[in-house]
């Protein structure tokens, strides 16, 4: 397995913006839809490079999803991005009927995902977007772990998918550690590190935290943790979950999202049916966040490498 090293901190939204620019150069069907925070969500380069293909729709997210549907029905590929809280929940019924029921190929960018958005506080920390969207038929949900992967997955979502796609990404500069030439496939989990004492399924920023935790677990406790990056929350890669349950005997999940109905729940749904093993969950404990720095909040609410190490040690003791 390759060693993962930080190539420098970078916000995932940079990767989102890079993908739009690159795909936009050769795909004239790509349309950008803005909601007053174009630069903030990483769409500004696209808007400047292709002014005839960028449409400002104002602070009106429900309309933006409907407009996306109309454009998709007309053969274009619309990308609408705003903060994840609004992109998923203000627009939920529009996503359900106008996009998902109609099976239309449109991309929704959920920016500022997770508690790491920091000082803006609870209103702007998207911690329920996966939970809100996960039950919708026909929707693909992506949650890349860094900027490089956000760029790769955004390009794949635009060019290879046929239905609606929600992709969540962060604002805070975080370790950018995956390679741009990684062979990624939507719907297929990425094994980051081999091991058979415990399987840690992580998504988003917590993949890097899991890598840090695995290093500590091995160095201080001689525990070999397998780390699996779930960049596609829906459809979930069942095979990777079943294999890890059988081979590792316990599963810890880690996400920058509410534990309720997020990645951990999606994995538990597979585990309890296919091969029950002890599980635990790292994530937001069904409370609202608050203001603070990203690191302070991830520490306080237990979404960092320290918590992953502690929960992993307790979980391994429960293995039969």
């Amino acid at each position: 397995m390759q060693a993962w090293s930080n190539q420098g901190n970078l916000a995932s939204k940079i990767g989102f913006g890079n993908a739009l620019l690159k795909v936009g150069l050769h795909n004239p069907k790509l349309i950008g839809l803005g909601s007053d925070i174009t630069k903030s969500v990483g769409m500004d380069q696209f808007a400047e490079a292709f002014p005839a293909r960028f449409f400002s729709l104002g602070i009106a997210e429900q309309n933006a999803i409907g407009v996306s549907a109309g454009m998709a029905l007309s053969g274009l590929i619309p990308v609408f991005a705003t903060y994840g809280v609004f992109a998923s929940m203000r627009t939920l019924d529009q996503i359900r009927i106008s996009l998902c029921y109609n099976k239309l190929h449109a991309i929704i960018g959920g920016a500022h995902a997770g508690i790491s958005v920091g000082p803006d506080g609870a209103t702007h920390q998207a911690l329920e977007d996966i939970a809100s969207l996960r039950a919708l038929p026909n929707l693909t949900i992506l949650s890349p772990c860094d900027s490089n992967q956000t760029e790769l997955l955004t390009s794949l979502a635009i060019e290879n998918e046929h239905g609606p796609v929600y992709i969540r990404f962060g604002r805070e500069p975080m370790p950018n550690f995956t390679a741009m030439d990684d062979h990624l496939e939507i719907g297929k989990a990425q094994i980051i590190r081999q091991g058979s004492d415990i399987a840690i399924f992580a998504t988003g920023h917590l993949v890097w935290q899991s890598i840090q935790a695995a290093t500590i677990l091995e160095k201080d406790f001689g525990i070999k943790a397998r780390i699996i990056n779930i960049h596609t929350i829906k459809p979930i890669d069942k095979q990777s979950i079943i294999e890890s349950a059988i081979q590792c005997g316990c599963i810890l999940t880690a996400e920058e999202h509410q534990i309720t109905s997020g990645l951990g729940s999606a994995i538990a749904e597979v585990v309890v049916k296919e091969h029950p093993v002890p599980m635990d969950f790292v994530g937001m404990p069904n409370v609202f966040g608050e203001s603070g720095t990203a690191a302070e909040l991830m520490q306080k609410y237990g979404m960092n490498s320290d918590t992953i190490v502690n929960k992993a040690l307790l979980l391994i003791q429960r293995k039969s």
Binding site: I31, A52, R53, F55, L57, G58, A60, Q62, N63, A64, I65, G66, V67, S68, A69, G70, M71, A72, L73, S74, G75, L76, P78, D93, Q94, R96, I97, S98, Y101, N102, K103
Partner: protein
């Protein structure tokens, strides 16, 4: 000319009543009330090909008020999109004629799966923006209810249509004045409705939604407008054509009983 449209509308009302009766549930009032508008759109106004439903440059009709699906289905069948016999499968398991339009069930002529109120106008706006962007000349028509205008998303869409000067978009508001709990003005006041649309930057036209010469004139005025989207506020009578149903808001979501059907048909 108008006589033949009247004849077609009468037949569409008949087909609508029969399919609703066969279904045993559904929305009779507004379906009958919109029969003349649907007749004019599909038999006079729109460029479309029933034998080629996906004709790329066809005019599009977006039905935002999805619960009047029975009159849309009756109109499509009458226009030749599918057989009249299929209308009797309305709302039954396995049907292509879903309670609210659902594209994935494969009925020809359905542009959008819709039925959650307040969404269709945004989709129509997206289509009109896409047509302009692609320099395609087809027209987008949308039909909304009047109670539906209480949804905030309608006004988000209205704002964006005027902002992008979508003169290729014409919306018909089914102004029958009634919704489930009673009159629109008692449930949530809509008036002054023309001024609302005008202030949002629209070309506003009012007409009697059962008078074909007024309907025709309204669409002519809409077509002549070259800087704004147009809205036709069509005054209609819920349940039009069956005196026992006319203006009875309890007929919003009720289907005729078998014992009533013949009597209702005779009133047409």
């Amino acid at each position: 000319m108008n006589q033949s449209l009247k004849q077609i509308a009468k037949e569409i009302r008949l087909l609508t009543l029969q399919s609703l009766c066969a279904a045993g549930s559904g929305h009779t009032g507004a379906s009958l009330g919109l029969a003349d508008i649907f007749t004019f759109l599909y038999f006079r106004q729109m460029k479309h090909r029933p034998q080629e439903p996906d004709w790329p440059v066809r005019d599009r009709l977006i039905l935002s008020i999805g619960h009047v699906a029975p009159v849309l289905y009756a109109t499509l069948a009458k226009a030749g999109y599918f057989s009249l016999e299929e209308l009797s499968t309305l709302r039954k398991l396995g049907t292509r004629l879903q309670g609210h339009p659902g594209r994935e069930h494969g009925l020809p002529g359905i542009e959008l799966s819709a039925g959650s109120l307040g969404q269709g106008l945004s989709v129509a706006v997206g289509m009109a923006m896409a047509a302009k962007h692609q320099k395609l000349a087809y027209q987008i028509y949308a039909i909304t209810g009047d109670g539906e205008l209480q949804e905030g998303s309608i006004w988000e869409a209205a704002m964006s249509a005027a902002h992008y000067q979508l003169d290729n978009l014409t919306v018909v508001v089914d102004r029958n004045g009634l919704q489930i709990d009673g009159t629109t003005e008692s449930v949530m006041k809509l008036e002054p409705l023309s001024q609302k649309w005008e202030s949002f930057g629209w070309n506003v036209i009012q007409c009697d939604g059962h008078d074909f010469s007024e309907i025709e004139n309204s669409f002519k005025i809409a077509s002549a407008e070259k800087t704004k989207p147009s809205v036709i506020i069509a005054r209609t009578i819920m349940g039009k054509g069956v005196s026992e149903i006319e203006n009875q808001h309890q007929w919003h979501g009720k289907a005729p009983e078998t014992t009533e059907l013949e009597r209702f048909i005779n009133q047409l």
